[in-house]
C-alpha cells in the first residue's frame, strides 16, 4: 500500500466516522427535544459522510481501469421481424376470421362504454349549478358571522366580503360590498339602481380563473385578483381594465333597508366565476 492509498484510506475512514458520530448525535438531539435545524444539519452530515466515503473509496482505492465493451446491433434484421409477424398470424383460426376480428373490436368498444360507468359516477352532471348561486330576492347581505352588514359599518372607500344570509363562507355566493360613493360611481341603467347610496356589490369570484378578487385599490376604485392580476374598474361596472380576465365581475342587485342593512333583489345577472362554454347558451 503506497502513501497515497494510506491517505485515501484514512480519509474514507474519517468520512465514515462522521456518519457514525453524527448518527449518534442525531439520536441524542432527537431525544433531547429535536430542533429541526440541528437535526437537519446532523442528518446532512450523516448522509454526506457516508456518500463521500463511498465515493472516495471507489475513486481512490478501486480500479479505474478503462474498460471497453462491444456494442452489438440491437435488431435481429428482416428475418426476425418476419418471424414475429409469422408467429402472430400463422394460426389461421385467428388471422383468417376477419368477421370475428371485427366483432372483437366492436365488443371492446362496448366494454369501453361499460367502463365509462364508474367514471361517470365520479361527479354529478354540472346541470344548472354553474349558473346559480345561493343568492335570492330578500336575502340579507351578511358577514362571515352570518350577521347582516350595516351601511354605517363601511366607511367611504371601504370594502367588506358578504354572503347570502344563511350561507356564510359560500364559495360561489361570496360578494364584495364596496362603499364607492354615489359621486364616483358611473353605472348605467339597471346597474345604477342596484347601487343604493353609493354602495355596490360585485361577485368576488374572478371571471378568469376563479380566485377571490380580494385586493381593492380604493384610490383608483379598482379590484385586483392576486392570482393573475386581472383588474376591474369598480366605478364602471367592474369591467376588466387590465390582465387576462375578459368579462366583468357580475353585479349583485341590492337595496338598502330602512334599518341600514342590505338585501338582495335576486341572484347575479349572469354566471359568476370562470367562464365556461355554454354560459351564453343558458345551459
Amino acid at each position: 500500500m503506497n502513501r497515497r492509498e494510506r491517505r485515501a484510506e484514512r480519509l474514507v475512514l474519517a468520512c465514515f466516522a462522521v456518519t457514525f458520530l453524527t448518527g449518534l448525535g442525531l439520536l441524542g438531539v432527537y431525544t433531547l427535544g429535536g430542533d429541526t435545524q440541528v437535526q437537519g444539519v446532523l442528518l446532512a452530515l450523516c448522509l454526506g459522510g457516508l456518500g463521500a466515503g463511498i465515493v472516495l473509496w471507489a475513486q481512490e482505492l478501486m480500479s479505474n481501469e478503462e474498460r471497453v465493451e462491444e456494442r452489438h446491433p440491437l435488431g435481429t434484421g428482416p428475418e426476425g421481424s418476419a418471424a414475429v409477424a409469422e408467429a402472430l398470424t400463422d394460426e389461421a383460426g385467428f388471422s383468417r376470421r376477419r368477421v370475428l376480428q371485427g366483432g372483437l373490436v366492436a365488443a371492446l368498444g362496448g366494454l369501453a362504454a361499460a367502463l365509462a360507468i364508474p367514471v361517470l359516477s365520479l361527479g354529478p352532471a354540472p346541470g344548472r349549478s354553474l349558473f346559480e348561486t345561493p343568492w335570492k330576492k330578500g336575502l340579507h347581505l351578511v358577514g362571515f358571522d352570518n350577521q347582516p352588514v350595516k351601511a354605517d359599518a363601511i366607511p367611504q372607500d371601504g370594502v367588506v366580503t358578504v354572503f347570502p344570509e344563511g350561507f356564510p363562507g359560500s364559495a360561489d355566493g361570496q360578494t364584495l360590498l364596496i362603499h364607492a360613493g354615489a359621486d364616483r360611481l358611473q353605472l348605467q341603467g339597471d346597474a345604477a339602481t342596484w347601487a343604493p347610496n353609493g354602495f355596490v356589490a360585485y361577485s368576488k369570484v374572478c371571471t378568469h380563473a376563479g380566485c377571490p378578487v380580494g385586493l381593492y385599490r380604493a384610490a383608483q376604485g379598482q379590484l385586483i385578483c392576486p392570482c393573475h392580476q386581472s383588474t376591474f374598474d369598480v366605478m364602471q361596472g367592474a369591467v376588466p381594465v387590465f390582465g387576462p380576465a375578459a368579462r366583468p365581475l357580475p353585479q349583485l342587485p341590492i337595496q338598502l333597508e330602512a334599518d341600514g342593512t342590505f338585501t338582495a333583489l335576486g341572484d347575479f345577472s349572469e354566471p359568476v366565476g370562470p367562464s365556461f362554454w355554454d354560459m351564453r347558451l343558458g345551459g
Partner: protein, 503 residues
C-alpha cells in the same frame, strides 16, 4: 463451525463466455509432482466458498448467474452529466421514503375539526382534518417538520434535476435512433413528476394549495364542450368539494407513484438493453462502450451519490423553511393571500395565464373562456413539441441513422438553438408567474412588468435562437481544444547545441 469465506478466490472461474479460465488438469499434475497431498485434494474437488454457495443456491432456482455476471461487468461511460438521471432517480426514492413517513400522519379528509394545537393564532379555528394533521405533523411529531420539509425540498429539486437531465439528453442528441422510445418514456416521467408535485401541493389544504386547486379546476372548466363535465368528474362537483382532497391523495400516493415507478423500470431497462451513449472521446466508437465496470466502481460511485443527494436535500430541509402552512392559514373559499403562486415547476403555466391578453370570443353562442388558450392550448402545444421532438428533428434533418456517440451541443446548431429557445420561453413564462413578487422586488409596476413579459415571451426565444445558432456555427469553425494535436511541439537539444522538434 467453519468461518464463512467470502474472500475472492485466487483464480477467476470462467471467462465472459463461460469457458474455464484455468487448467485444473495441469495444476493437478503439478501438485502431484510436488507431492502436495492437500493441494491435490483441493484442486481435485475444490470446496466452494460461502459466497459461491449462496450464488449457487440462487442460480439453481433462477438461472440468472450469467445475466448477473454480465450486469456486474457492464461498462458505464463516466461523465458527470450522465449522473443527473441517477440523481433524479435518487430524488424519487427519497420522495417515496419521506412520503411514506408523511402518510402515517396525514389525514386525507376535508371534514371539519377545531384546531387545538400549539400554534396560538389558530387555536379554536375551524380547519379541515387534512390541514390539522399537517400542523400536527409539523409541530407535534418529533422530526415531522424535518421530514415534511425534506419531502417538499426534494420535490422542488427533483423537477429541476429532471429538467437538467432532459436538457443533457436533448442537447447531446441522445434521443436519436434507437432511443426515441426512451425519450417518450422520459417525457412521461416528467409529466408524472409535475402531476405528483401539483397534487402534493394541494394536499395540506392550506390557503395556497386551495388557490392552486381552484385554478386547476378553472382551467378544466374552460375546455369547450366538455370542460364543465371534466371539472365535475375530476373534483366530484362544483369547486370547492369535499371529494377532491381524498382523490388527490390517492393520485399522489398510489396511482402516480405506481405509474412513475413502472416508467422508471422501463426507462432504466431500455438503457440497459441499448447500452449507454457516450461522448466522442478517447477510444469511444459507435460500436463499443468505454468506461468503468458496474461492479464495484460504478456501483460505489452511484451508491455514494445517493447519500450525497440525500445530504443536500436534508440540508435544505433542515435549514430553509418551505411552505409554512401555519402562516398561510387553512383554505377558505372567500379568503386569499397575495402573492399566490404554485411551486416553481408549475410557475410557467401560471405565467402563461398571467400575461395572456384578455381573449374570450363567442362563436355561434359558444364561449371560449379566457383561461382556455393560455391554460390548456399553449401548455398542450409546448408539451407536444417537447414530447415528439425526436420525430420532429428526424423530419427536419432527415437523419435516420442509429447514433450511440453523442453530439456536442454546438455540433447541431438547429437543435441547440431550438432547445435553448424553448428553455428560454419556459424561463420567461416562469418569471412572469412571479410578476407581482418581482414587481415588489424590482420596484416596477406589475403592469409594466406584464407588458415587458408579453414582449419578451415572443422576442426572447427568437433572440436566444439566433444567438445560440450563431454561437454554434462559429464554434464549429474552430476545433475544440481536445481535437487539436495533443501537447503541441516538443523541442530537444541537438548535438550541436541547437533545438529541433522531437517526434
Amino acid at each position: 463451525m467453519k468461518a464463512p469465506r467470502f474472500g475472492r478466490r485466487e483464480r477467476p472461474v470462467v471467462d465472459p463466455i463461460g469457458r474455464p479460465l484455468n487448467d485444473p488438469a495441469r495444476e493437478l499434475r503439478d501438485a502431484e509432482a510436488r507431492g502436495d497431498a492437500s493441494a491435490v485434494d483441493v484442486i481435485a474437488d475444490p470446496e466452494p466458498t460461502e459466497l459461491e454457495r449462496i450464488t449457487g443456491w440462487l442460480d439453481e432456482r433462477t438461472g440468472l448467474a450469467g445475466l448477473v455476471r454480465t450486469t456486474l461487468r457492464k461498462v458505464f461511460p463516466d461523465h458527470w452529466s450522465f449522473l443527473l438521471g441517477e440523481i433524479a432517480l435518487f430524488c424519487f426514492i427519497i420522495l417515496v421514503a419521506t412520503g411514506t413517513f408523511l402518510t402515517f400522519f396525514f389525514v386525507p379528509s376535508a371534514s371539519q375539526t377545531t384546531y387545538a394545537g400549539p400554534y396560538p393564532p389558530l387555536q379554536g379555528a375551524t380547519v379541515s382534518e387534512a390541514y390539522n394533521s399537517v400542523l400536527r405533523l409539523s409541530f407535534d411529531v418529533k422530526a415531522g417538520l424535518l421530514m415534511r420539509q425534506v419531502h417538499h425540498w426534494t420535490a422542488v429539486v427533483f423537477v429541476a434535476v429532471i429538467v437538467a437531465h432532459l436538457s443533457r439528453v436533448f442537447f447531446t442528441g441522445a434521443f436519436r435512433r434507437p432511443r426515441e422510445i426512451n425519450w417518450l418514456i422520459g417525457f412521461g416521467l416528467l409529466t408524472f413528476a409535475l402531476a405528483e408535485g401539483f397534487t402534493g401541493y394541494s394536499l395540506p389544504d392550506d390557503l395556497l394549495s386551495g388557490t392552486g386547486a381552484r385554478i386547476a379546476y378553472s382551467a378544466a372548466i374552460s375546455i369547450p364542450l366538455i370542460g364543465p363535465y371534466v371539472a365535475s368528474l375530476l373534483f366530484g362537483g362544483e369547486f370547492p368539494t369535499a371529494a377532491f382532497l381524498p382523490r388527490f391523495f390517492v393520485l399522489h400516493v398510489m396511482l402516480l407513484p405506481a405509474l412513475f415507478a413502472g416508467a422508471i423500470v422501463a426507462h432504466v431497462g431500455l438503457v440497459f438493453l441499448q447500452k449507454h451513449t457516450q461522448f466522442r472521446v478517447g477510444r469511444a466508437r459507435e460500436d463499443n462502450v468505454v468506461g468503468r465496470h458496474f461492479w464495484p466502481g460504478q456501483a460505489f460511485v452511484s451508491g455514494g451519490l445517493f447519500f450525497l443527494t440525500a445530504a443536500v436535500v436534508a440540508l435544505l430541509g433542515g435549514l430553509v423553511q418551505i411552505n409554512p402552512i401555519w402562516a398561510y392559514g387553512p383554505f377558505d373559499a372567500p379568503i386569499v393571500s397575495s402573492p399566490a403562486q404554485p411551486d416553481w415547476y408549475v410557475g410557467w403555466l401560471d405565467g402563461s395565464l398571467r400575461i395572456f391578453p384578455p381573449f374570450e370570443p363567442v362563436i355561434l353562442g359558444i364561449t371560449i373562456p379566457s383561461a382556455f388558450v393560455p391554460g390548456v392550448v399553449i401548455p398542450g402545444i409546448l408539451f407536444t413539441i417537447v414530447g415528439i421532438w425526436p420525430f420532429i428533428e428526424r423530419r427536419v434533418t432527415g437523419d435516420r441513422a442509429p447514433h450511440n456517440l453523442l453530439d456536442w451541443p454546438w455540433e447541431s446548431p438547429f437543435r441547440a438553438a431550438t432547445g435553448a429557445a424553448i428553455l428560454g420561453l419556459f424561463a420567461i413564462l416562469t418569471l412572469a408567474g412571479g410578476n407581482d413578487v418581482l414587481s415588489a422586488f424590482l420596484d416596477l409596476p406589475i403592469e409594466s412588468l406584464t407588458w415587458l413579459f408579453r414582449f419578451l415571451v415572443l422576442a426572447f426565444p427568437i433572440a436566444v435562437w439566433l444567438v445560440v445558432y450563431a454561437l454554434c456555427r462559429s464554434r464549429q469553425r474552430y476545433p475544440a481544444p481536445d481535437e487539436r494535436p495533443k501537447g503541441g511541439i516538443r523541442l530537444v537539444r541537438n548535438a550541436t547545441g541547437g533545438w529541433e522538434e522531437a517526434e
